[in-house]
């Protein structure tokens, strides 16, 4: 009797817990600490290329010499472009050396900004916008299509090292939602591009991926042939003539 009661109570309790949706909170994509790997450890030498050293000088010249540390973000960006889209510990150490701060101060910056990748990415790093407008317009499907087509998980690099898919927050072109960004690291920091592909569909993103694989450069911007930039589909629908003055008061009179 008692046993049955207890069992029933247990079932009830379990029921209650089932109803609570087990939300998993997702935090930033990469770990906030470093683990040594053969291709990422402090003993690997790392240096800016000769061409980039000139650029480093140029960047540093923007800041007063006693505020060198202000150059941390541009230099990290340069290092990331040079190193195929991600930052190793040694590259961050090199930046710290150049701007004369302790390495931890550079790590702090690099971990703060999600656009600094601290794990390997593909030559083409595809970033799907996941913020509300794009999400409402189907960015989840876009991401699914990409992941399925490439056969990887999020933030994983394909076997050939060409592609990786990540998520980004609003990149400011919600008007053409949904959109993806392609960071192209295939040609080092000289040929680096960071292009938006807007109004994409699950079909279209796959086409873009294939075009990139072939080494083509698909045209950036809206992928909807019926739109020009962020103009409405099929031409203007408003502002067709001279706008009428506001009805409330006579502007010329005041």
């Amino acid at each position: 009797m008692l046993g049955r009661l207890a069992a029933q109570r247990f079932r009830e309790i379990r029921q209650v817990f089932r109803q609570i949706p087990l939300v998993s909170r997702s935090f930033s994509t990469a770990l906030n600490y470093h683990l040594d790997t053969p291709d990422n450890n402090p003993d690997l030498p790392w240096e800016f290329t000769e061409a980039n050293k000139v650029k480093v000088k140029e960047v540093l010249s923007h800041y007063p010499s006693n505020y060198k540390q202000s150059a941390v973000i541009p230099l990290l960006d340069l290092a990331q472009q040079q190193h195929g889209g991600w930052l190793t510990v040694s590259s961050m150490n090199e930046v710290a050396r150049i701007i004369e701060v302790a390495p931890i101060r550079v790590y702090e910056v690099a971990t703060f900004y999600s656009m600094f990748n601290r794990t390997k990415v593909g030559k083409y790093h595809l970033l799907v916008c996941g913020t509300t407008p794009c999400m409402l317009r189907g960015s989840r499907d876009i991401e699914d299509a990409l992941l399925k087509h490439l056969g990887v998980k999020r933030n994983e690099v394909t076997k050939d090292g060409l592609f990786s898919v990540g998520e980004m927050e609003c990149m400011g072109c919600c008007v053409n939602a949904p959109m993806i960004t392609v960071a192209d690291y295939s040609n080092g920091s000289e040929g680096y591009t960071y292009n938006y592909y807007e109004d994409v569909t699950p079909k279209r993103v796959v086409e873009i991926v294939e075009a990139l694989r072939r080494g083509e450069k698909p045209p950036r911007g809206t992928q909807n042939p019926k739109r020009i930039n962020s103009g409405p589909e099929g031409g203007n629908t408003t502002l067709l003539g001279e706008p009428k003055p506001p009805p409330c008061r006579d502007l010329d009179a005041c």
């Binding site: 939300v23 600490y33 931890i104 101060r105 702090e108 703060f112 900004y113």
Partner: protein, 743 residues
């Protein structure tokens, strides 16, 4: 002490004075929800009474007006207070006697303003302001107990607790945790958060600091401490948003001699003491306010003990010596107090083994031997940790036996004990903050006196003071110019041939610090006279400023020199027949002749014991009352915190007993009697907590005609963590040595 504890104490104290006011105090610190829901009614209720009771500043804070014209007046809860310009709202409130809750603000660190716990209402400001980061403006009307302020605090508290594990029952900080105290005082009685809490990987910061990073509330006090005070840029705030965590990014231990202080400043239990972990709850501990003897600084500490065991050591506030920090050696060497202790008198038998005997027998044996040797074959050496009383007794006893060969370790063969300014830090530790150029001669303060180094670092950071350093290359954790390694450089500076000499002469308050390692050198007098020449050139000693300092190494040194423990000649050990080692472990035992009779009186079975014929067990500094003089000549006393082990006795009592058995009875048998005896020798030793400025300066010293040698200055303290018998017995210190000193 946790801030909350402080707050509640202040509240209690003021409550005691005005019992009638207690209810209003209660209303101030415990937020009742009805008041929050019904703001108007609460406001009506909180009408200020016309005759408000007088308030006194929190924690006895004193206001110092650097410039009387710059005083401004602000109103805190209706009370007008005068404060100097540039103070923050939080400081103004403190002076008005209102303790503002806080986590990230710390008076000795830079302001971060990221916890938002210190929100107060300021009239005419649209939203609550973070008082720690807001400069007080003239006429500002600050309100600290309005419903808005209360609600703001309650809200901040709820957010802080959102990701906090609430594992107080298994947290070592429990009972002295700022978060615990403040959530009791200012938080809500329940949380509304039902999601999963985050968890953070624990970091390995070394053998001293234990981390439970999930408890961290991201106040960044530890990061600021490490960067600003300790001078090791290892810690940082990584990540962002709710993924934010404290860490070192790459695997790295915190290699600072001050790292233990992050345990105290962490307001929660994220950083706690590793050796103390799960050993005791802090409310079971008995605190004894005493001083530290591991170096010559005499840091003020509190020994927390449970029963006969020292459980931990924490710092005490003393603005003039250690501020509120202590070095890792001071904080963690206490486990050495429990290991390798001598607890019975022992005599070495013919087979070379020690046999425990009674005090009576041991004393009789020693008394018999001492009468068989010639008076000038008797030698007494006081150890690094000896207190003034026992050194007085040792000197008196040996004098009675006809010998004057008594000295203290580390003072060298012929110390200049005649002129007091020649062996103490005349500037005083807090006075170092006024210096603008330092010249360090043969001293590495970072390992010799970590708190002095912290003071120099503070000065260098605050005023960009220049530091010149002569000695082996070392890392002093502040910018310094390495001038050279040997005394020749000093000569060049003295003769004005070195660029640094003009830096010195142009300085307003130049400061020269000579390390006590120089005492052991053969060309000691020559070095001191060169230093004096430099001092004379640069006007280092003036009526209003004395910048000529000696940095001592051991707790006993200054008192020994005050009491005149000086050997007749430097070569005494080699020709001695009877050696009395009072805790002296660093005398060169190889020089002791084969047939000499060695008595070792001490608390640890350390180096001295290997050669001893008789052992007298003595009590350690934590078990006795003793007078110590620190390197700046400040007299302080230790207070017994725990009982002695076994049959051990206080040092001076042992010597007093021995003198009686030997038939040369010393004329004192109580602490006060021995102290009156000390008064006749060195009256300054009785002025506790006072610094007696040295009256005579160097000019009275006889000229030295010695030439400086060319031997470069050496490293005096090779191993910061193990410098005396207690620290050498400590397991934690041994771990630190292997893990943190890269040898």
């Amino acid at each position: 002490m946790g801030l909350g504890l402080l707050a509640s104490r202040t509240l209690l104290r003021s409550g005691k004075i005005q019992p009638g006011n207690f209810t209003s105090l209660l209303r101030r610190c415990i937020v009742s929800t009805t008041e929050l829901q019904n703001a108007e009614a609460a406001q009506a209720q909180a009408q200020p009474d016309t005759d408000l009771p007088k308030r006194s500043p929190v924690g006895g804070a004193r206001v110092h007006f650097p410039n009387p014209e710059d005083a401004i007046e602000v109103f805190v809860d209706g009370y007008p207070v005068k404060i100097p310009k540039g103070m923050t709202v939080l400081q103004a409130c403190e002076i008005a006697g209102v303790d503002i809750p806080r986590f990230c603000y710390h008076s000795r660190l830079s302001i971060a303003g990221n916890c938002r716990m210190c929100l107060v209402e300021v009239e005419k400001s649209p939203k609550p302001v973070a008082s720690c980061a807001m400069p007080a403006l003239p006429g500002m009307k600050i309100k600290t107990d309005t419903p808005i302020a209360k609600k703001a605090r309650e809200g901040v508290m709820e957010f802080l607790l959102m990701n906090h594990p609430l594992d107080c029952p298994i947290c070592d900080q429990g009972g002295e945790c700022d978060l615990q105290d403040q959530s009791m005082a200012f938080g809500s009685d329940r949380g509304r958060f039902t999601e999963t809490k985050r968890s953070v990987v624990d970091k390995n910061l070394g053998p001293l600091v234990k981390t439970v990073m999930t408890r961290c509330i991201q106040c960044t006090r530890c990061v600021r401490f490490a960067t600003e005070i300790a001078g090791v840029q290892d810690l940082g705030m990584l990540g962002r948003g709710s993924g934010e965590e404290i860490g070192t990014y790459v695997e790295r231990l915190m290699t600072s001699e001050l790292s233990g202080n992050v345990i105290d400043i962490c307001p929660v239990g994220a950083l706690t003491s590793k050796p103390f972990a799960f050993k005791a709850r802090n409310w079971e501990l008995k605190g004894t306010e005493t001083i530290d003897v591991t170096d010559a600084v005499g840091s003020n500490i509190r020994i927390d003990s449970r029963g006969p065991e020292v459980m931990r050591i924490v710092p005490r506030l003393n603005e003039d010596i250690n501020e509120e920090w202590i070095s890792d050696k001071t904080r963690f060497f206490y486990d050495g107090l429990k290991r390798q202790r001598l607890n019975d008198p022992m005599i070495r038998g013919p087979d070379g083994r020690f046999k425990a005997v009674s005090w009576r027998d041991a004393l009789a044996v020693v008394a018999e031997v001492i009468h068989q040797v010639k008076p000038d074959e008797i030698v007494g050496v006081a150890g690094k940790l000896s207190d003034a009383e026992s050194m007085m007794a040792l000197k008196d006893f040996l004098n009675k036996m006809g010998s004057n060969n008594v000295w203290c370790e580390g003072n060298g063969p012929n110390p200049n004990a005649d002129i007091r300014s020649g062996y103490i830090m005349n500037t005083s530790i807090s006075g170092l903050e006024k210096a603008d150029v330092f010249l360090l001669v043969g001293t590495q303060p970072r390992v010799e006196a970590a708190m002095v180094n912290a003071r120099i670092r503070k000065t260098v950071r605050a005023t960009q003071a220049k530091v010149g350093y002569v000695g082996p290359a070392t890392d002093l954790n502040y910018d310094h110019e390495h001038l050279g390694t040997g005394p020749q450089i000093l000569k060049e500076i003295a003769e004005g041939r070195h660029p640094f000499s003009s830096t010195l002469t142009n300085a307003k308050n130049p400061c020269i610090i000579v390390g006590a390692g120089v005492f052991e050198r053969n060309d000691k007098d020559a070095i001191f006279s060169v230093v004096e020449t430099i001092a004379g050139r640069a006007k280092v000693v003036r009526p209003d400023w004395n910048g000529l300092n000696v940095l001592l190494l051991n707790a006993a040194q200054a008192a020994a020199l005050d009491l005149g423990l000086i050997p007749d000649s430097g070569k005494k050990i080699e020709s001695s027949k009877f050696i009395y080692l009072m805790g002296a472990d660093d005398v060169n035992l190889e020089k002791v002749p084969e047939d000499a009779f060695v008595v070792y009186q001490g608390h640890h079975g350390d180096r001295g014991v290997y050669r001893a014929n008789v052992i007298f067990p003595a009590s350690a500094f934590s078990e006795k009352e003793g007078t110590y003089v620190n390197t700046e000549g400040c007299v302080q006393t230790t207070v017994p915190a725990v009982p002695t082990v076994g049959d051990a006795r206080d040092d001076w009592k042992i010597i007093r007993a021995l003198s009686e058995v030997a038939g040369a009875c010393l004329p004192y048998d109580s602490l006060s009697a021995i102290r009156s005896r000390m008064r006749t020798v060195a009256p300054n030793l009785l002025n506790i907590d006072e610094r007696q400025p040295a009256t005579f300066s160097y000019s009275l010293k006889p000229e030295s005609h010695q030439e400086t040698g060319t031997v470069p200055f050496g490293t005096v303290v090779e191993n910061f963590y193990m410098t005396d018998s207690i620290t050498r017995a400590s397991k934690v210190m041994a771990q630190c040595r292997t893990l943190l000193l890269k040898i």
